[in-house]
Subunit: 413 residues, 2 copies
């Protein structure tokens, strides 16, 4: 955990309404850090539906394997998250550690093990001392409700410089339902996904199948559309819990994907997830600039996204942004290397509202001064029009600074 907060951090935290059926407690179990909380236990009311999206890494962590294994049950009673140790690449010991963790929570909360979700973030390859959870489990159960959303977000931080929270409300059947989310992540952030954990909760009554569908759809344009360093973690986890408590207030259960209320929830969920995704990028290790890359006119949306990510992951583009250099030649390079259909002579590029290139060469009206002014801003919009189709995509990244190298050259010590 850094002592210097990212300059891109939000100026204030949102007011997070309570969500009926969700309570938190946190503890300092001394997994790796001292003098801070490193364990979060969320208690979820009976019947809470759950959906999840996980890392595509071939070397996924033990808790990711655990969650995937129980997800088909569709229900959750508890979520245990620790920071400081990822329990990844820990072999049989890792598998034993998740089993032991579930056993400890199951016993303390008197709920089935296959309704206990686990997530870990931190160092890879160190055995996770699950027994440390036993020492705090009863306290965590007794203290349920004492930790706020902010406390919860703080307990799951690793190299994050600030806790990440977002909230939205929507009307369903005349009643207000809430969607709250927390997230962590600052490095090893790349599509499919990042070392990022995000937990989203709602009191809306939504069936697991619907929950899974809308979570998957929204992940594509939020957590899978951000990149800090192109590195994908072994531990990425997004879980979405619906306690259904609003049903008591007369909100009918959403159990079909073509229920018109699904779109309402999906849109609000998208707001929360995109907000959290942006907060992760803005806490990108060493980040000083937030970069939005929009690609349009591509052969397909997928092709547009690949090109956008090629730009977003280019160290030369990212260092140019860090240096406030309107070096659009590097954007051309990144378009070219993406390997996607492109026609050099139709390409146009904008930094903010300043068109810097068109029809395969520098814009005749190019003004270095105008382009440089855009680069001095905190948020840098880069727009590319390929001029060959209707595919489009937006991704977000940050600049690459000396501080990134400093943070990551000295992470374990």
């Amino acid at each position: 955990m850094s002592t210097t907060v990212s300059p891109l951090a939000p100026k204030s935290y949102p007011d997070m309404p309570d969500i009926e059926g969700v309570t938190f407690a946190t503890a300092g179990a001394g997994i790796k850090y001292s003098g801070r909380t490193d364990v979060l236990l969320a208690s979820l009311s009976e019947g809470t539906a759950v959906a999840g999206v996980f890392t595509k890494s071939k070397c996924s962590s033990a808790p990711v394997d655990w969650c995937k294994g129980i997800l088909s049950e569709g229900h959750a009673r508890a979520l245990l998250v620790n920071s400081g140790n990822a329990n990844a690449f820990t072999g049989k010991k890792g598998k034993a550690a998740v089993a032991r963790s579930a056993e400890i929570v199951s016993s303390a909360m008197s709920c089935p093990e296959n309704e206990i979700y686990l997530a870990s973030t931190g160092v890879i390859g160190e055995p996770l001392p699950a027994e440390k959870f036993a020492g705090v489990a009863d306290d965590l159960v007794a203290a349920q409700g004492q930790a706020s959303w902010l406390d919860a977000a703080k307990a799951i931080m690793t190299t994050d410089t600030y806790p990440k929270l977002a909230t939205a409300t929507v009307e369903l059947d005349g009643e207000t339902v809430t969607i709250n989310g927390i997230a962590k992540g600052a490095g090893m952030i790349a599509p499919d996904m990042a070392t990022m954990l995000s937990f989203v909760f709602t009191d809306a009554p939504i069936a697991p199948g619907v929950l899974q569908t809308i979570l998957g759809q929204n992940t594509e344009t939020s957590f899978n559309a951000i990149t800090v360093d192109s590195d994908t973690s072994t531990s990425d986890t997004v879980l979405f819990f619906a306690t259904g408590a609003a049903e008591k207030r007369g909100v009918e259960a959403v159990s079909e994907i073509d229920d018109p209320r699904t779109d309402v929830i999906r849109a609000a969920l998208a707001d929360v997830m995109t907000d959290l995704a942006h907060q992760i990028v803005k806490d990108g290790e060493g980040a000083r600039k937030f970069v939005q890359i929009s690609v349009e006119g591509a052969e397909s949306d997928q092709s547009a996204k690949r090109i956008a990510l090629s730009i977003a992951n280019s160290p030369l583009v990212k260092t140019a942004v860090a240096g406030e250099d309107a070096n659009w030649g590097r954007v051309v390079m990144a378009v070219g290397k993406a390997g996607e259909p492109a026609d050099r002579d139709r390409l146009a590029i904008w930094f903010g509202d300043v068109r810097v290139a068109m029809e395969g060469e520098r814009d005749p009206g190019y003004s270095e001064e105008a382009a440089s002014a855009v680069m001095k801003e905190e948020t840098i919009p880069i727009r590319v029009d390929l001029g060959i189709g209707t595919g489009e995509a937006i991704v977000w990244t940050c600049d690459l600074t000396k501080q990134y190298v400093e943070i990551n050259g000295d992470y374990r010590s």
Copy 2:
């Protein structure tokens, strides 16, 4: 051009034998730099065969398009290279600039335009003032033979901190023939290929078809097996010229790929190209460590290479190397994110001779001290055994340091 030479630079330059049929002259045309040479003209004897491999970028530069257009002719009389301006993304002006360049050289050397090869390296998007070549062309022709191989290598440098040269000799039909190569490149270096130019010359008599085949084969394991920053240039060019002068000494022409002498030449060419490729990585912008990544036990050679490049391009692996941190967890992450077949529980990883991980977890005999000692060396061998097949590949990269960010955050100014 940097004033501080990379600590990984060779301690001395090789003695480069003359190659009959090849002469050089250099000039300072003031394309962008002042107080240094920035144009190289190589004169090649009549009948010189040529082969080329070029960037796969969809936004290739005007000189790349020019060379591709004349390559089928198979013969070369001249090579004109400038540094300081890449003539890339320069649209119609760029096309006009290469045509004008060829015209200038053709007139000064009295040779056909379609035997004049052009290469440019430097800033993207600025029109190339080809007329500046006219001012030095006659001098360059008159001064042929006055520039050494070292002078030639120096004239094509951009952010390089040292000139790159390599040489090899082989016996063909009882006669010694020579292969000499020069190269430039330090950033925007990634497979398929780099902002790298390399020009290789031999006096062996080799038909264009054979020349093209062995150049293509050797590129895969040399220039296409290195990465500094995963960024692929618009301008990458490797040209191989065979003057055939050794024919006069009794060496019979190599005109078939199954001529047993082809293997002899291919092996020597591989030595020269791999040497030059290593020199480029060792001059990687800000590099302090040379990293060799060997992947074995993969499903196929191609899969091994993808995994090796995933490791080599990971900013987290590269910053760990910069920090002399034996952070093998990041190697696991990079294997996992490659998306290639892998079995976490069969994976083994070595830093140098120290096995740090096996069977999906930390090696039981792991010694932080021994692993850290490897990381303090200048050359860091990282070996990964996937344990699922017989595919293998080796790639080379360098570490990612604050100096990389510094150099690239302030390149244009």
